[in-house]
Symmetry: C2
Subunit: 477 residues, 2 copies
């Protein structure tokens, strides 16, 4: 199988598609812009869901489910929201054999339908905070699609919270951004920068959008999750007021936040190589594959020995036995490398004689020869080490490809002639400079990183006026 993958050096985007198709993560569907998520891809989504769901519940959130069909008029109630989403809407005009009185749009996101219900449920400060999340499919009619990264239909979670005060809503916004960071780094081993988006890049209807932003292997940025402080925008659009502790009436304060199947794209483009998928053990559906190597004359003995290893490992790990006679060991190695199995355990006649096994790490390819009694402990160590190593490798890669650039000629050269990466540059805060830079380089402000906004001294990389922020510029997905 491995020969089917285009090397990254040749074409990163072909390589990406080859990985998705050959590792059987997803497939093209007959519906334009929609993909089919195959079992191996869906298993990654299940791992993402179960980990995040626990984190959401531990921070006090409950799951609910709201209709996917939204009256068209609802979208129009928040001016920026409708402007942002109108071009992407899919519209149901007919149902049950007749034309609908009012068209229904397929949710591109659920603020409007949810806030129409919050009006019903929230009367008093005693009803707050209201901390709901929904796992759902959404539809955004995209012109150019790419499996997992941008598809017409995608799966996601969307949190929608309602609060008494602006401070509390902002605190929630940041809290959930940090949950995303913890998850991305701790489980997916994808290092992310956190910060606020510029006004031109924010969610349509938000006061501020915060994001986790990762660097892919081609040095482009990928927005991997967003958390929005919505102020009172949706409360005002849907007239959601509450009686305050002081007995007054005020509009409710809001946040919303989401991550999607796009995270699977981030996972692929952070860790994988020319042999196929590389998965951090915490998100991999299995830990290791056991592959016996034998001839007809010693088949039974080798399989017995392999079974004895399986028996010990299966108590603690998720092990797949690949005893299939119709494929050669070499073919199996390639196939499991393609699928991102974290560790391969080879057991041949000589291993049997020496009561050993060979453990092969997917990330480094390192072969480790281990005594029978130490296989379980060694596997445990490898998995733990691999989880950490993948994160560190990705972080080092990002750091190697992040440059402080405060000269506009250098900046233009970096994005237009060089290999690109993240530029840390000073910015005056104006939309004009941002637009000019985008026009000249296709690079945008990914985030204004939280921890880098103090004591800003210097001038804007573009206009040379006094700088307000340090911004991360990059080309992005």
């Amino acid at each position: 199988m491995a020969e089917k993958i285009t090397p990254r050096s040749e074409s990163y985007s072909d390589w990406y598609v080859d990985i998705v198709l050959n590792a059987k993560l997803a497939d093209y569907s007959p519906v334009k812009g929609c993909m089919v998520i195959r079992p191996r891809g869906y298993a990654l989504w299940e791992a993402i869901q179960s980990n995040l769901d626990k984190m959401f519940k531990a921070t006090g959130h409950s799951n609910a489910y709201f209709p996917m069909l939204i009256p068209e008029s609802f979208l129009k109630k928040e001016a920026e929201h409708v402007e942002g989403f109108s071009p992407e809407l899919a519209v149901v005009t007919h149902a049950g054999g007749s034309e609908l009185e009012e068209p229904l749009v397929l949710r591109p996101t659920s603020e409007t339908i949810i806030w129409s219900m919050y009006k019903k449920w929230i009367q008093s400060y005693r009803d707050l905070p209201l901390l709901l999340n929904q796992w759902a499919n959404v539809i955004r009619w995209e012109k150019r699609t790419r499996m997992f990264l941008r598809t017409t239909e995608f799966l996601w979670q969307e949190g929608h919270t309602a609060h008494e005060t602006s401070e509390e809503a902002e605190e929630e916004t940041i809290k959930m951004l940090n949950v995303y960071k913890e998850f991305a780094e701790g489980i997916l081993a994808v290092p992310v920068l956190t910060g606020v988006k510029s006004q031109s890049e924010k969610f349509a209807g938000a006061i501020n959008t915060y994001a986790i932003e990762a660097m892919m292997q081609d040095k482009k940025a990928l927005q991997a999750g967003t958390s929005h402080f919505l102020g009172q925008n949706f409360a005002k659009a849907f007239d959601v007021t509450f009686q305050t502790r002081e007995g007054k009436l005020d509009y409710v304060w809001a946040s919303s936040w989401g991550v999607s199947t796009r995270l699977i794209g981030a996972l692929i483009m952070t860790h994988s190589d020319d042999k196929g998928l590389v998965l951090p053990p915490k998100v991999a559906p299995q830990d290791a594959v056991l592959i016996p190597i034998y001839k007809a004359k010693n088949k039974d003995e080798v399989l017995d020995y392999a079974d004895s290893i399986y028996k010990i490992l299966a108590e603690k790990f998720r092990i797949v036995k690949d005893y299939d006679d119709t494929n050669s060991p070499g073919w199996k190695y390639s196939e499991w490398e393609m699928c991102g199995m974290p560790v391969r355990i080879e057991v041949g006649p000589r291993d049997m004689e020496n009561r050993k096994a060979v453990l092969v790490r997917r990330d480094s390819g390192e072969k480790i020869f281990v005594e029978f009694d130490k296989i379980s402990d060694t596997l445990d160590e490898i998995l733990k080490d691999m989880q950490v190593a993948l994160l560190e490798k990705a972080r080092a890669y990002r750091e190697e490809n992040t440059f402080e650039i405060n000269n506009y000629d250098e900046f233009l050269k970096f994005f237009n002639e060089g290999e690109g990466g993240f530029a840390e540059s000073l910015w005056c805060g104006s939309g004009e400079c941002e637009a000019k830079i985008k026009e000249a380089t296709k690079a945008t402000i990914r985030v204004l990183p939280f921890d880098r906004q103090e004591n800003i001294e210097g001038t804007c990389v573009c206009c040379n006026k006094k700088a307000k922020n340090l911004a991360i510029f990059a080309k992005s997905y």
Copy 2:
């Protein structure tokens, strides 16, 4: 809160709606026919999902995800299928600001989109069996809707399997029906009959539909899950052939099977009472609520004592502390009864002095006075006993309300004048008699129960010709 519930004796359907709204399981939405599933209702769906998902995986199935938008032409490829679903379709005609070349329907079920992919994935017997399941939302434009039981959008799982032989596909169909029965009875404590549907009641596009069928408290039947043997119908419609072990080409054999959020309706209407929801412990989100009863003078001591109970119980059970000062104990009792909390633990000053507690069972209302050291064991026993007792009670109710009726006058009287229930009656097998009965009584054949089709002797309850089957007739949801 309890006073808001209409008694069942007054109006069973009003009672049902009162339970759904007051226990905050769901709410009406602004979109016609669609409901909002609130956190307490969604928690039940999560319990259903996690239990069933384990059972599906244990029987070799994997999850995947297919697009919710289906080209209209796909539905038309299977003649019965399009006839059955056409009246219920919602259609997207516009997207991304322009009219679509081909309208897209929102999936009412996914056979067509899935079999269009199976054509791509299946070439040989080595690709079979293919055992996929999908957790998804579906849309069926229903004229009359009722929360959980029949809504325009609902959540469900749909299994779609592909096999080499007819026998294997039928075996799968029955296997999954039995999984549903085991789940319904073992987890939901809802006793079900299993059997085959008559041809007039089968799924549009199936050879045979099998169902699990339950009796609600108003003696009506509820179809709680179906499993379809699809023969080669969809393989032929989508031209899905495979190379057999003998080197020939044959069409693939299929099954599909599904249960939905309707199960929550079954749960409510099987166990609940005029005080509110009653939940079997295995599906309840929590096991017990701890309610301290105190006056200002002994508050601290009582709460300390309650805490000492909480500490022990929390190790093993899912316990909610309700220490809220703003509500009286009596109000709390009603509220938690409404929500279906399996056990209430009351702790007052006298209990504290005697180092006891009072455990109150939700199903029977029985109060059990327990020594401190035995609270944990007693709670465990109550929960186990309640799980069994609810199933037995429901089964006894169904048996009490099931009658052998083989005289047509009696049959008409039973459904038109009596209290109704399940009629076990002999049937000649003709669609005419079935239609005549439906016209005269509104009762339909719910299933031909598996274990009752041998040695049929006698005549059809309707036409008096020789009987072929024993059928369960009932009015249904």
